[in-house]
Symmetry: C2
Subunit: 240 residues, 2 copies
């Protein structure tokens, strides 16, 4: 791919990992999708990452290009950029999954992906299609964890169910029928934990999708932060 790389737009067929740590994760996890690694003269290896060695071992071109790094970077202190081709994945139907209906915040999405990897849940379905999951903001907030999970996008929960059927579905809702701390997952089928948009949550029709769950909290707040809620759910499900 010989391209004049430009500041990221959703319609590009490539994207960026900004920073040494996410770039190392990119080269480690998906070496075939790396187009090039760009570094600026100010860059120094640190924290035992050995990016240069890693690139050499994986046949990845490492290019010093101060101007391009400066032009593409969102922040001044970014000295490393991993350029990669956008790719698709297949979800593992036998594995536990997270489904997010219309996630709105790139930072939350990245944090959720990192938390998923922390609890060894490696399959993510995006329902409703809006999110640009390979956006550099998601990559950065995930600290490169995105390169180690599978993701799939579905127009609707019905399409998701048709494709990944035979699962126990747990939509998380303020009006959920079951309190998370009293829930006993059946455990004979793989599960999906489903969460709505930060502002609007899941709509009422999700009450008829599987077993709806609520994380009980005090009335002093409207709802928990989405990435906090997903973290609590993953913690609880990983225990049981």
């Amino acid at each position: 791919m010989q391209t004049a790389f430009k500041p990221y737009k959703k319609e590009f067929d490539y994207s960026y990992a900004f920073g040494a740590f996410p770039t190392v994760e990119l080269v480690r996890a998906r070496p075939r999708d790396v187009v090039r690694v760009l570094v600026s003269a100010a860059w120094r290896e640190e924290g035992g990452l050995n990016l240069a060695d890693l690139c050499r071992q994986n046949g990845v071109e490492l290019e010093y290009n101060d101007r391009l790094v400066a032009r593409l970077s969102p922040k001044e202190n970014c000295f490393v950029i991993g350029v990669f081709r956008k790719y698709g994945c297949a979800l593992d139907r036998a594995a536990p999954q997270i489904a997010l209906d219309n996630p709105g915040n790139m930072g939350n999405l990245g944090t959720i992906i990192r938390t998923m990897l922390g609890f060894s849940v490696k399959d993510l379905a995006i329902i409703g299609g809006g999110a640009d999951i390979l956006d550099p903001k998601v990559v950065r907030a995930s600290m490169g964890a995105i390169f180690r999970i599978n993701f799939g996008c579905y127009d609707s929960i019905e399409r998701y169910c048709a494709d990944c059927g035979g699962r126990d579905l747990y939509p998380f809702m303020l009006g959920g029928a079951h309190s998370l701390d009293r829930l006993s997952p059946r455990g004979d089928k793989p599960y999906t934990l489903i969460f709505g948009n930060e502002a609007t949550g899941l709509d009422e029709r999700y009450k008829s999708v599987g077993q709806s769950v609520v994380i009980r909290h005090a009335g002093a707040i409207d709802s928990l932060n989405l990435s906090v809620a997903v973290g609590i759910a993953l913690y609880q499900f990983s225990k049981t």
Copy 2:
């Protein structure tokens, strides 16, 4: 207080709540600390907040001032600003508390405060002194929850213990001795859950402070996001 309000700086003796929702929380929870509410002409009451009524009932001046709102706002779509005097609090020694050692990210700090309120833990100790807890970024990320909790700042954990002694202390560390899901809090004394900085965590000497705890996660990530970790800990402790 008659002041030419300026874009926020840490050394100011006043701060800002940006947005209608945090401003409503400010006026509801701390009416005596409100200096003024600034709104722009584009502002409309929404979502049943009734900010104008609330100001009237609490003797708070509501001033239309487009230029000032535009000059102080971090983002273009902010139409309401609550100006408030910075205040101090006393921690409730009989209540459960969260302690954060050198928190570095204002957004995380705000999310943590909101999560605390969600689990009815209303006392927050900041150890190490660096954080400007009434910074508008914290206020905004907390969605105004900060006005409903108590906070106190301490130079060191020793100072905190001297002031809030007789508590069960649980420092959360990657090398913690006890796994959170197997922990049985004694419950005869109030507890404090202690968390370190986003990048560095708690240093080793915290191992001798109370009962150290780890939230087990897969080795594929270095650590959980701080606000996710606090959320999981609050969830677990609120159950037991």
